[in-house]
């Protein structure tokens, strides 16, 4: 599947099966929020992002309106991934049970924090939000973070 972002003139490519896997995890955790990391790589001209996999945090707190993930134990995972495949952390995903796939101010603040984080090397992390119900994913949105704003892909 390919998505395009007008704001940065960039594309995002993700396998449908990967998206389905992520959706399934979200549905299983319903009615609590859940989420994790997205990994992948950029094309040589930096205009396309290939999302290759997701990672689940080892520790997380999920409530109906809140999801908090830890990176405890994840540092080595990220390092190995880069050493072996040159794939790296490119963003985040989480669910909004019974909610829309609009990002919240908490989400935006989290993305600001991520982009400003010294150990993060990318300036435009992406955010995938899945709006889910008990049985299915109603909708999902990829957004790209840039300069204190989140801009959706189409």
């Amino acid at each position: 599947m390919k998505f395009f972002n007008q704001h940065k003139q960039v594309s995002l490519i993700i396998e449908e099966t990967l998206l389905k896997k992520i959706s399934q995890i979200g549905i299983e955790k319903y009615p609590y929020e859940t989420g994790g990391f997205l990994v992948g790589y950029y094309s040589d001209d930096s205009m396309t992002l290939y999302i290759t996999d997701y990672l689940l945090p080892h520790k997380q707190k999920g409530m109906a309106y809140l999801f908090e993930r830890s990176i405890d134990g994840m540092k080595q995972v990220f390092k190995n991934l880069f050493d072996r495949q040159k794939h790296f952390y490119i963003g985040e995903w989480h669910t909004h049970p019974n909610g829309s796939c609009m990002y919240s101010s908490t989400d935006l603040n989290a993305m600001i924090e991520i982009a400003n984080c010294e150990t993060v090397n990318i300036t435009n992390p992406v955010l995938l939000i899945l709006s889910i119900t008990e049985k299915q994913v109603k909708d999902f949105t990829f957004s790209i973070y840039n300069n204190k704003g989140l801009h959706p892909y189409e």
Partner: protein, 555 residues
């Protein structure tokens, strides 16, 4: 502790003390008497004095030395027991204090005994507060817009406020609600809350043409002294009244209000407490030319009068010690949002003498709101508007508080503001207010109010996390100013918020003291702007690094 020798020694230094009679000490109280004579005083005067153990310090806020001369009670500043109200000064040095106090007595003699000065201030007549069945009774009244004439009498509707303790006894507090005279009701000018309470009790009133006092300052203390002051018609009425209520209400206390005029034609009331079945009256056969006419007249009998405590709580006296500017107190005010800031604004304005405050908030008060707003724990969970309404009414009997429906802004205004017809209705409604305090920190509402271009003044108040700054903006320039302050200028820490467990509603961190310091400063500044008709420039109050100085920056 003072001793007699030191006292004698010290008094010898005062040449106007011609003689020191016997001084003794009993139960730690020093009693004695002195003779005073000095130039200008025709003949010598004797004064008794009493000095209590705390001397030279004060005792219960009163002086611990007293001078008496029962022969001088007609003179100004002499109490019924002959004690003289002198002006004492503070001094902790025993000797100095003695010299100062006795010198004050001399000054009193010069001023009031020799020069017969009259003070400009009106002094209320002196009333000894009476106990009835070990209870004190108090009656609080306010202005009426009616002028009574001598001899007018009728009914007074009253209702009880809280019972409390007063000088270690139970006091029953009453509010005077209205007078019923010639079948018409004369309301006291309380707010509608106090005016609309169903009066559960009543008393009688009689309007006098002069003070019910001896020497124009001591209240009459025996009923026979009232003979001739009140009309026979009234006494007969009292008799009929007692007869009517005797069966059902025997032993009940009936407050009898005596009204009279003081300065500027103001009315003051004194309340005598009488019991049904024990009215101080008797029937006396009318005799004409030595022959009984067969008619009976009611006369007063000799018995002590129990006077109640009476307080004039009219707006002028209630707020006499200080208000905010009239241009604000007379304004019709709306407060939107009753969180920490809104509740403080509401309370401060009420204590400042404001008369019309409407309030609106859709929120519920939770126990955790109490620590930094004006809410009380005691009332549990409740709609914020309800609690603020009762709080404001509990503070001031002159405040009119109206609760605006919670959906007025949340639903109606936000839904319909784009519809031109609805908008003009909303605007017309809101234009009734002279001042609208927006304490919601709701950007949507801020936007709507701004485009409404109301005729009244909108004042928007909000604070940053940790109560670092308070931002205050005046219409018409609110939206751009407040948003730019928060997003671009002030360093509003959005990381370190208070996030209670079990709910997902983070809020800023700050204590009651933190917030109220800023709110009070802001209201002081706003008051200053109104009082001096200054430009309404937006401003930010900041706390500097050591957090001990507040700085106001006008924009």
């Amino acid at each position: 502790m003072i001793n007699i020798e030191l006292l004698k020694e010290t008094l010898k230094c005062l040449s106007f003390i011609k003689n020191i009679n016997e001084i003794n000490c009993e139960d730690s109280i020093i009693r004695g008497s002195i003779v005073i004579l000095f130039d200008g005083l025709e003949s010598s005067l004797n004064f008794r004095f009493e000095i209590y153990p705390p001397y030279p310090l004060k005792y219960h806020g009163s002086e611990s030395i007293k001078f008496y001369n029962e022969d001088l009670i007609s003179i100004n500043h002499v109490m019924q027991d002959g004690s003289i109200c002198i002006h004492n000064s503070h001094n902790t040095d025993l000797k100095q204090k003695i010299l100062m106090d006795f010198d004050s007595l001399k000054q009193w003699i010069q001023k009031y005994y020799i020069d017969k000065e009259n003070d400009l201030n009106y002094e209320h007549i002196v009333v000894e507060e009476g106990l009835v069945d070990e209870n004190y009774y108090s009656y609080i009244f306010t202005d009426i817009s009616h002028t009574f004439s001598e001899g007018d009498f009728g009914k007074v509707d009253i209702f009880p406020l809280n019972n409390a303790f007063y000088k270690d006894k139970v006091i029953q507090n009453f509010l005077v609600q209205k007078f019923v005279f010639n079948k018409s009701k004369i309301p006291c000018k309380w707010n509608s809350h106090y005016s609309n309470i169903q009066a559960s009790e009543f008393g009688l009133f009689y309007f006098l043409d002069k003070h019910p006092a001896k020497m124009n300052k001591f209240i009459l203390n025996n009923w026979v002294e009232f003979q001739g002051l009140v009309s026979n018609v009234f006494l007969n009425y009292l008799h009929q009244f007692e007869k009517k209520f005797l069966t059902n209400s025997k032993g009940n206390i009936l407050p009898l209000f005596f009204g009279y005029r003081t300065v500027n034609n103001e009315i003051h009331w004194q309340v005598a407490l009488i019991k049904i079945g024990a009215f101080p009256i008797k029937g006396e056969a009318e005799i004409l030319l030595g022959i009984k006419t067969g008619k009976w007249n009611t006369k007063l009998i000799s018995s002590d009068i129990q006077w109640a405590l009476v307080r004039d709580s009219s707006y002028k006296y209630f707020f006499g010690r200080g208000t905010i500017d009239k241009s604000i107190t007379e304004s019709k005010i709306l407060i939107i949002g009753l969180g920490a800031i809104g509740s403080m604004v509401a309370k401060t304005l009420t204590r400042g003498g404001c008369k019309y405050i409407d309030i609106v908030d859709y929120d519920i008060k939770e126990p955790e709101n109490v620590c930094r707003s004006e809410y009380l724990f005691q009332s549990g969970l409740c709609d914020k508007v309800r609690e603020i309404e009762s709080l404001l009414i509990a503070i001031s009997p002159f405040i009119e508080v109206t609760i605006i429906k919670k959906e007025y802004f949340e639903l109606i205004a936000k839904m319909l503001y784009k519809d031109m017809e609805s908008r003009s209705h909303l605007i017309a409604n809101l234009n009734e207010y002279d001042i609208v305090f927006d304490c919601t920190t709701d950007n949507d509402l801020m936007h709507i109010l701004e485009i409404f271009e109301l005729t009244g003044q909108i004042i928007n108040m909000s604070i940053t996390n940790h109560a670092q700054e308070l931002v205050c903006a005046f219409s018409p320039n609110i939206y751009n100013f407040v948003n730019t302050q928060f997003s671009e200028i002030l360093n509003n820490d959005l990381e370190d918020l208070y996030e209670p467990t079990g709910c997902w509603n983070p809020t800023f961190k700050a204590s009651y003291n933190d917030i109220n310091t800023l709110v009070q400063f802001a209201i002081k500044h706003i008051n200053n702007i109104y009082k001096n008709s200054k430009e309404k420039n937006n401003f930010v109050i900041g706390t500097n690094a050591d957090e001990l100085t507040l700085e106001i920056k006008e924009y």
